[in-house]
Symmetry: D2
Subunit: 379 residues, 4 copies
């Protein structure tokens, strides 16, 4: 079992497993490596899938899978197993991780084994089985949707959420306050970056700060959660070719995305940024599809990491009522040149050069439109 920051009674889980006959039980605290090895690269990449989803579940899977494989190898296990369903992305993410890191492993995925899924058609069959065999299960009925939680986010899907038109119930969210009930005054944070990852966060009004990766991320979750930041309701395209509806809350991740976008554009060359933006989109796609451990994702991560060498400095932002507002930024590595860009000072710049620049850019356009007989002018 992996502790990646979800709210869970690990001791009870251990007992239950032992009671059910598990020979060995491994409960690993992966929180720090989850932040440093998986969330941080996603921050560097500005990783967003299909323009909106911050990949909270997707980045956790290879983290869990890597640890599971490490234990399987250590223990000499030839089989690994997981409980993901047969229609989702997670089965792919787990299994590609396993196959990549332990090519000869055998995987048991009960929800894809006909003997299993034909016998247990739904929750009731499973409950009956559990009762008959003395397996302790929660007595209170669960929420009418499915949930996945970790340090980065909680996702909600299935059940009543499968109707894409129906609104999410107000009490669904566990990680973020409803912005209608969140504080009426903002928190102001200063986030300091080095090589594209946060190295310190300071609450400006309270003068408190955090500087280890896990503490930083946890604190951003706390502040983001308090102000209702990072809620989205989307329909997305699964790797498997279906559209599905998901509701996500990613408080800390959303703050970091905004802050990183800001410091990155401030310090990175424009054309490097364009190329890196394309690599970031590719990275998000690879991670979503389960290819964290793949030669192409290694390659893309390497390139993105290279692009972050000078991404350092401080971003000031306010968090309020579900929003993150960038307020200002500073960096010794910035390519921003106040004098050069100033409207009031000329700096090392000759405005006449712009005439030539424009004229040359127009050469092609003038040729084209002259040949088109100027048909574009409507009036």
């Amino acid at each position: 079992m992996a502790n990646i920051g979800q709210d869970e009674d690990f001791a009870a889980a251990q007992k239950k497993a032992e009671k059910l006959g598990a020979k060995k039980v491994f409960i690993e605290d992966l929180r720090s490596e989850f932040v440093e090895d998986f969330i941080w690269p996603a921050v560097q990449a500005n990783a967003v899938y299909e323009d909106r989803y911050l990949l909270g579940t997707a980045v956790a899977r290879p983290c869990i899978g890597r640890s599971q494989v490490a234990i399987a190898r250590r223990e000499g296990a030839q089989f690994v197993s997981h409980g993901a369903t047969g229609k989702g992305n997670d089965q792919i993410r787990f299994e590609l991780t396993c196959y990549a890191l332990y090519p000869e492993v055998k995987i048991i995925a009960p929800w894809r084994v006909p003997e299993f899924y034909n016998r247990f058609k739904g929750r009731i069959d499973l409950m009956d089985y559990a009762q008959k065999h003395g397996i302790p299960v929660p007595v209170t009925p669960q929420a009418p949707w499915s949930m996945d939680a970790n340090l980065m986010h909680i996702s909600y899907e299935s059940g009543i959420l499968e109707n894409p038109k129906s609104n999410a119930p107000a009490d669904l969210y566990l990680m973020t306050k409803n912005p209608e009930d969140s504080p009426n005054t903002p928190d102001v944070l200063e986030i300091e970056f080095s090589k594209g990852v946060p190295v310190k966060v300071t609450n400006v009004k309270e003068s408190t700060s955090k500087d280890s990766p896990l503490d930083i991320f946890s604190y951003l979750n706390e502040i983001g959660g308090k102000h209702g930041v990072g809620r989205i309701d989307i329909v997305e395209n699964r790797f498997i070719g279906m559209k599905s509806r998901g509701i996500y809350e990613t408080p800390g991740g959303t703050i970091l995305l905004q802050a990183h976008l800001d410091i990155e554009t401030f310090t990175m060359d424009k054309e490097v940024r364009r190329i890196k933006q394309g690599l970031g989109i590719k990275f998000a796609e690879l991670v979503y599809n389960g290819f964290w451990y793949s030669p192409e994702c290694d390659f893309v991560r390497h390139c993105i990491d290279k692009s972050q060498e000078n991404v350092e400095g401080k971003v000031q932002l306010s968090v309020f009522k579900g929003q993150v507002y960038i307020m200002g930024r500073e960096s010794t590595k910035s390519l921003y040149n106040e004098e050069l860009v100033s409207m009031d000072v000329q700096g090392d710049y000759d405005p006449c050069d712009a005439s030539g620049f424009i004229k040359i850019n127009a050469v092609r356009l003038r040729e084209h439109h002259r040949l088109q007989g100027l048909s574009s002018v409507k009036k």
Copy 2:
């Protein structure tokens, strides 16, 4: 002079121009064509420059330029002029539009004419000149920054904003309420799309609706403005190679971006979406750089337009305290298949297929990692 929705006394401007000796004065109401011919294509494209800027100024320039060229041609004018500075993007946007649509035109850009900019080094020189020559100018000192306003947005830059670290003053914003002072209850809107553009907006609680392009966009501005939606503070990369700091408010455009992203992903095939996303990024870049009227932008617009054929349906969203929350969506053209994706129903889907899918996707990864000697497993 173009009326593209800015708050301006056009009658006074007309009088002033005539008083100063203008032989003819043209003040054109371009608001409807600005929405339909320029903002709508940007909505279809989800046009965002450098991940954040919604291009409010950039889409207005070719609209103004097109009209200016049309008048110049009609009047037989050989020269056109504009007041954009020599360091910015707007000079390029205006001039490329002119050269593209009127290749033989001559352009006078005083801020790039040494005789002009050497004589008038700043505002005071201009004020002196105006006073001496009886040109009426505002007596109250203007804000210590520069502003550009139209129906889509207001941008603020220069002056005290040139220091990228300094925060924007609270009273800067003219188009949006401060979210701290905005209403404590959301407005709920339903936006209906056809071919990727909004055809109707309904305020669900108030049961009012708008259905002409200009009315729809103006109403979204009103609601967005009321709730403080669409404020950003960014550093961006100008075409000319400098970084500049800009503060923007784009209330209606921000609502539309979120709504369009939602209905588009709901109705568009996943792989078409990926290709179209790349075209949208290209489109944003072209528009930002002033190439609206170019063969490549024509081509990209055509392709994006094609992709929007089935982008239709309704999105429900709430607008509150600076945020837009998607609540649900529906469409008869959706590729979302509730039964297929359901966790509870199998639908026309065999989970066993996923095993093969994953195994085949792993072929390459297993080969790669076997050859790598499994060096990736850390523990």
Copy 3:
């Protein structure tokens, strides 16, 4: 059975099928539609997979599949079948075509049915079975490799070619002469294009010409074959994640690729070309992977087709000893402006503009390198 230009005794095949008990036998002449609906779009796209493979097999599969599905629908068949192996691309190309055009069809692929492939482990088992059941089979041993032939190309793989180091035997090629034995004088062709596809080919010395798609393509095959054009020996990446070695000869397609590249660059705007190049690479990938009939391939084909509107004119080239040499081109739609580009005439161009153009392009570079402390200068 599809006639897509391969050298085959269709009457004998018909008889054999009837003798073996086929209720109905359909042998369709698809050659013209193969050229017009499949090869021509590939020509427009400059479709090349992994920089070298001209997709001769890949474009034929959807052509065959479309026809097979049309017959299956007409005849009310619920099943279709094919003989492609379980490791290759063709199974995917056939089946995706079938599923796309006839979603409810069932597909029988014997080489993936364990009962079949466990019984027939190789050629000898099949021969035995044929002999026992009176199925006529060729008595002479086949070449020690596998072959796929159609109007566009012949591919050779497997058997002794599976060793990527071993050279292809000289007598392998059926469609092209060995350049060592080909004529010692070139043929000179003029190919005329309209909307990006050839509409006429003329042998300049012989003054003969062809102007229907099938005739044009067949003639280019004849000339290309005579001069040994279009042989390649490559290792490529299959969709299924394996690398495989293939030897291909594509005489007519190779000539057309060179000619189309030339007329396209001559007539198409530079920036449109860049975007279209990306779409062409995507198209090649989709076709290779079997997604001809997919929303994204429809979309890409539409965009590419749009880009070809002005791709018209004549290209003169010589074909000699395995090579195609472009000699010259002309077009009334060309954006080439002899006066503008001339070194001897100034044209409508002011060289001073280039100074500004360069200076502005250098703004960013100067900023960057100044900040880097000029560390790039080695000496």
Copy 4:
């Protein structure tokens, strides 16, 4: 003056310069660094501009410019100069290199100085001037076109070549034999690569080999030239927005491109290759446009270099009558798995997996076409 492999009397040039009053004359042998620092990265990138041009001139410019700047800095020169015309790419390539590496330098480009180009309208004016001032000039008339030569290629343009329809004269080419007159037997080479660059070339029949960069490249030029390899006649798009016609011969570079493509695909993961292909296209564009010394080109080169780590092994090829034929390849780093791909052996592969793979890939297509009402089936 830079010696980058062109055929030139450097001693005479030195004398002439001194005679004309040059205080100091620097003639630098840059051939080795040209190969290692400029041609090798282009080989790694498979750098081809607009699908055809191998960038022989473009890669030489930053090499020359870097050396020029180094001398200017060493000598304390504030000005540098070059003789490139005002319509071409070379002025940009030289000057961006200078500005990037020596931001404060002043550049004198006579062909863009009105006092100069108005006085010297063409060759005759220059000849007159030279005669009057005792400047020695060639008496024999030059070829009616312009030429640029270096170790990598010779380009021909302008003059009678400006008419894009007219064929290049047979006696134009200086670096390659006319394939009609080239040997009737091929040379067979084995090229060995490490990290994506050639480290050894062996003539298989003659058992001779070369193993330093300059020797390898020179030898490939010799063999390529002898067999007439690498001639192209193209129209290309200049950075400045014009189309121009150029004729190029790049014997060694053409052989290397083919060999590198082969060993790269053989050893590089498929998906890494796709991403790297995009970076290679970007690289070619940047180099063509003069941005060798730019942050984005540094970044792209770094990424491409990273991709080449395992690109090693040997390629066997034959060179004959203008063509390069790949014959076979081998590598200890190859991802090619003969057993896995074999048609005769099953290897570690279950064909049934392919069924699932195809069915899952079809999910999206079946959904799409079902909704489309199957309108794609024509018959």
